[in-house]
């Protein structure tokens, strides 16, 4: 397939069946391989969409500095697009993210400001909001609240899924900015409302939840609970176990957050089998495993991997 430039090739990712993990011919699992995007993650869609929207409304003009709180993938996607278009990019990233993500960001020319490990992405958001207030000329695209993030999935990911799998009964995605689930949820609520929208949320170690007051939690501005039907919290043990199953049984090498998503997808599959219902369950492979090799999640026993992930932002 031919494209005019790299950014034109974002999206239109393959949807592959998982015959070995699917419990039966009636209950099938399908993986949407978002690691096949230009920088290797689903975030290329949101990053491109947010930049195009900001250019269209005039808030982003040549020479601008973009600021973004990110645990890595969105920053890498923004960095790729920003470099093509001549924007400076500053990413606020929690210090407990994998070294590969920092290396990639630096390679693409982004500047990194570290936020404290304790508090995880909440802290990155807080630091970025503070910097944005100090530097009104910087443009914060703000993936947690930017409608263009969800719109990328409403216009791209969801119609692609529906076209490839008209019999879809469930969609399972990761819950971070909530953009993927909000966009896809809204599409199916309109077009095929019986599709169950399921969220898999990573559950980190205690360091990430921090010691801050419970009233200072964070819910992304994009989040609309009416667009999802259930929400699972998945810890590192289950995520690692599933990501390894995905490699062993289907040959798909995915990032750790995809293990959490698969865990929730398999729970839906088991539920359908028990109820004697037909199901076509599609889920997102958000990225591949390359950026997480240094975390130690892919070697040794599950116990060892779980210990190594303690305190890390593994998804």
């Amino acid at each position: 397939m031919r494209y005019d430039s790299l950014v034109d090739s974002v999206g239109h990712t393959p949807l592959v069946g998982l015959p070995n993990l699917s419990p039966s011919d009636d209950v099938r699992l399908w993986a949407k391989l978002e690691d096949r995007n230009p920088t290797g993650s689903i975030k290329d869609r949101a990053a491109l969409s947010m930049i195009l929207a900001a250019e269209a409304d005039g808030s982003l003009t040549p020479g601008c500095t973009i600021l973004e709180p990110t645990s890595g993938n969105t920053g890498i996607s923004l960095a790729m697009v920003a470099r093509q278009r001549g924007y400076r990019l500053i990413c606020v990233m929690p210090e407990n993210t994998s070294i590969e993500r920092r290396q990639l960001l630096t390679m693409f020319g982004a500047e990194i400001i570290s936020s404290p490990a304790a508090g995880g992405s909440n802290e990155a958001v807080r630091v970025a909001k503070g910097l944005a207030a100090e530097h009104p000329d910087w443009v914060m695209l703000y993936q947690y609240g930017n409608p263009a993030n969800a719109e990328a999935h409403y216009r791209g990911t969801a119609p692609e899924l529906f076209e490839d799998l008209p019999t879809i009964t469930h969609f399972v995605g990761g819950l971070g900015t909530t953009g993927t689930l909000m966009g896809i949820g809204r599409f199916f609520r309109e077009r095929k409302p019986d599709v169950r929208i399921v969220a898999a949320e990573p559950r980190y170690g205690e360091l990430v939840y921090g010691l801050r007051n419970i009233d200072e939690g964070f819910v992304p501005e994009l989040y609309d609970a009416s667009l999802i039907d259930s929400r699972f919290s998945v810890g590192p043990r289950d995520a690692v176990r599933r990501v390894r199953e995905l490699i062993d049984r289907e040959g798909v090498f995915a990032g750790i957050s995809t293990g959490a998503i698969l865990h929730a997808a398999l729970a839906q599959a088991a539920k359908a089998v028990k109820a004697g219902e037909r199901a076509d369950i599609a889920f997102v492979v958000a990225d591949a495993g390359w950026k997480y090799l240094s975390t130690g999640a892919y070697e040794g026993t599950i116990d060892e991997a779980e210990d190594r992930l303690e305190g890390q932002l593994w998804a």
């Binding site: 993650s41 689903i42 975030k43 709180p69 990110t70 645990s71 890595g72 993938n73 969105t74 508090g119 995880g120 992405s121 909440n122 990155a124 958001v125 993936q143 947690y144 990761g174 819950l175 971070g176 900015t177 969220a199 949320e201 990573p202 559950r203 980190y204 205690e206 990430v208 939840y209 921090g210 010691l211 801050r212 007051n213 419970i214 009233d215 200072e216 939690g217 964070f218 819910v219 992304p220 609970a225 999802i228 039907d229 259930s230 929400r231 699972f232 919290s233 998945v234 990032g255 957050s257 958000a286 990225d287 998804a315």
Partner: protein
């Protein structure tokens, strides 16, 4: 009947530092009342005006109770309840 309740760091002053405590109740609402009976002050940290606080997430066997009936979510012997502050997560 016993349900294991995992307590986040920030709320452990109410449980004498315990990371997990056992409690009883056939619904989440009843469970929270039972928690309050043994760990005074906890209920007020979880609920506001009879609803879960906005930045408090509660999971029964890993599923968010806001999608399973809220405070009326049914509990059975051996269930695990996890209480967590809401955070930004995912590969953002």
């Amino acid at each position: 009947m016993a349900v294991e309740v995992r307590i986040p760091t920030i709320l452990r002053p109410y449980t004498g530092g315990e990371r997990a405590v056992d409690a009883d109740g056939t619904t989440l609402s009843a469970l929270i009342d039972d928690l309050e009976a043994n760990h005074e002050g906890l209920k007020e940290r979880l609920l506001d005006g009879g609803e879960l606080r906005r930045f408090v997430n509660v999971y029964v066997n890993d599923e968010d109770v806001r999608f399973t009936g809220g405070l009326e979510t049914a509990l059975s012997d051996g269930d695990t309840v996890v209480i967590l502050p809401a955070v930004a997560g995912g590969a953002a």
